[in-house]
């Protein structure tokens, strides 16, 4: 779920764009540097972006029967590092907005902050910390991918709560409401995406 066009007040949309900008620009610089050193990497980066887009089209099987889609940024954060994912994630969001009508243009900044910045960085941090704590590759992949998914939706909920605080209980109440609707329901799906990440990395490490 990305925040739809026009859902955020103008000030919020602008604010989140400014918040996401340094990360995305940093990612763009990393990409420009990479491509200058090795022109062929344009194709590899393009393939990574296309994979992230396509991964979000994989159906996540769920026990309840309803299906949902992974965010797709967790494996990318581990494989390609968060700065690059900040850019690739934003490109993917732009494509989702214009090819699938998921998300929007004025809300691109807010969605990029959740999906391409907070999600990948949280996932990558969880992956590194789990590894550093002595865990094996697969537990670390699980933690990284699942938390990247969850962090994305927690951030989205926070953005919505900030824009629409509860009339009675303010920001905290608003956060609880949006977390309840957008993040709590996401917990099983985050676990599912973590499992998918483990299965993906298992196949990759065998090859």
């Amino acid at each position: 779920m990305h925040i739809a066009e026009g859902f955020l007040p103008a000030g919020h949309a602008a604010g989140w764009t400014i918040a996401a900008a340094p990360f995305v620009v940093h990612g763009a610089r990393a990409v420009v540097r990479e491509v200058r050193e090795n022109p062929g990497s344009t194709l590899l980066l393009g393939a990574a972006g296309a994979f992230t887009f396509v991964l979000s089209a994989v159906k996540l099987p769920s026990v309840t029967g309803s299906s949902s889609h992974p965010t797709g940024t967790g494996p990318g954060a581990i494989l390609f590092r968060p700065p690059v994912m900040a850019l690739l994630g934003t490109v993917v969001l732009l494509f989702q907005a214009l090819l699938l009508a998921h998300g929007g243009l004025t809300t691109l900044g807010a969605n990029a902050f959740a999906f391409a910045v907070v999600g990948p960085w949280t996932g990558y941090a969880a992956y590194r910390l789990t590894r550093a704590a002595g865990a094996g590759l697969m537990p670390a992949v699980f933690a990284g991918v699942a938390l990247a998914d969850l962090a994305t939706y927690v951030t989205t909920s926070f953005q919505l709560a900030l824009a629409f605080p509860d009339a009675e209980s303010g920001l905290v109440g608003g956060l609880l409401k949006f977390l309840g609707v957008f993040a709590v329901t996401q917990i099983p799906l985050a676990i599912g995406e973590g499992l998918l990440g483990v299965l993906l990395f298992r196949v990759l490490t065998v090859n």
């Binding site: 491509v35 590899l44 393009g46 396509v54 994989v58 769920s62 004025t106």
Partner: protein, 246 residues
């Protein structure tokens, strides 16, 4: 099968050969108008104009436009209800005092804004929009990565659908556990395909003289003064109509 309905509509649109800049000005103007005017009647007018343009002169299939609008509509409905529910207070959850008005405003702005973006999406292929990013001083390398994403995502979506179909035929999705195993293998197969594609494409393009970048010559899509005038006059008329009405 592997096509994306919005993308197919954009390539087939009657506005396909209009300058992307013209369409961006029109749709950008409509988005801003939808957001800054009061939902009634401003956003409602924008929504009506967008739907009339899409189904009329731009000849976007109504089915494609409505199906694509389902996604944002679902988010907007859930989000708006959540926004106007009140959880503080003593008793259980209830409606905020001005719930109907706030929800109406939120839904109006968001639906009209989403529709205006969808008008751009269903009339302008991505490959016409990417050169505009270049003019907006986005670095060439980034625009080129984005154009490779656009090309490869169709190749990979094709692989994704075919592999999933093959797995389904061999009972790969007959239980939740098997579905997970199949999805993991599917994701891994698509990832290795994407790397393989990139590597082989690199050789193919080196043979065509790739040295620094992936520059291509965009099509010449001339701008129309009449269209530009309409793009400015339309939103302006909506602003006037809206302020007269309120």
């Amino acid at each position: 099968m592997t096509g994306l309905a919005v993308d197919d509509a954009a390539w087939a649109s009657a506005w396909r050969r209009r300058a992307p800049g013209d369409k961006m000005l029109l749709c950008g103007g409509l988005v801003v108008t939808a957001l800054v005017l009061p939902a009634w009647p401003g956003s409602a007018l924008v929504g009506a104009v967008v739907v009339a343009l899409a189904l009329g002169p731009a000849r976007v299939p109504a089915r494609t436009f409505l199906r694509a609008a389902r996604w944002p509509a679902a988010f907007i409905a859930v989000g708006a209800v959540t926004a106007v529910v009140e959880v503080g207070g003593g008793g259980g959850p209830g409606w905020a005092p001005d719930a109907a008005a706030r929800a109406g405003s939120l839904v109006g702005h968001a639906l009209a804004g989403s529709a205006a973006v969808l008008l751009l999406a269903t009339t302008t292929p991505m490959s016409d929009l990417l050169p505009a990013l270049r003019r907006a001083r986005v670095p060439d390398a980034v625009v080129e990565v984005a154009s490779v994403v656009y090309r490869l995502l169709f190749v990979l979506l094709g692989s994704l659908h075919t592999i999933r179909e093959a797995q389904t035929a061999r009972m790969g999705y007959s239980s939740v556990a098997r579905s997970y195993r199949s999805s993991g293998a599917l994701a891994a197969a698509v990832l290795t395909r994407s790397w393989d594609r990139a590597r082989r494409m690199q050789e193919g393009l080196a043979g065509r003289g790739m040295e620094t970048g992936l520059r291509v010559l965009p099509e010449v899509l001339p701008s129309s003064w009449a269209f530009l005038a309409g793009s400015v006059a339309g939103p302006a008329a909506i602003v006037v109509a809206s302020s007269v009405a309120t």
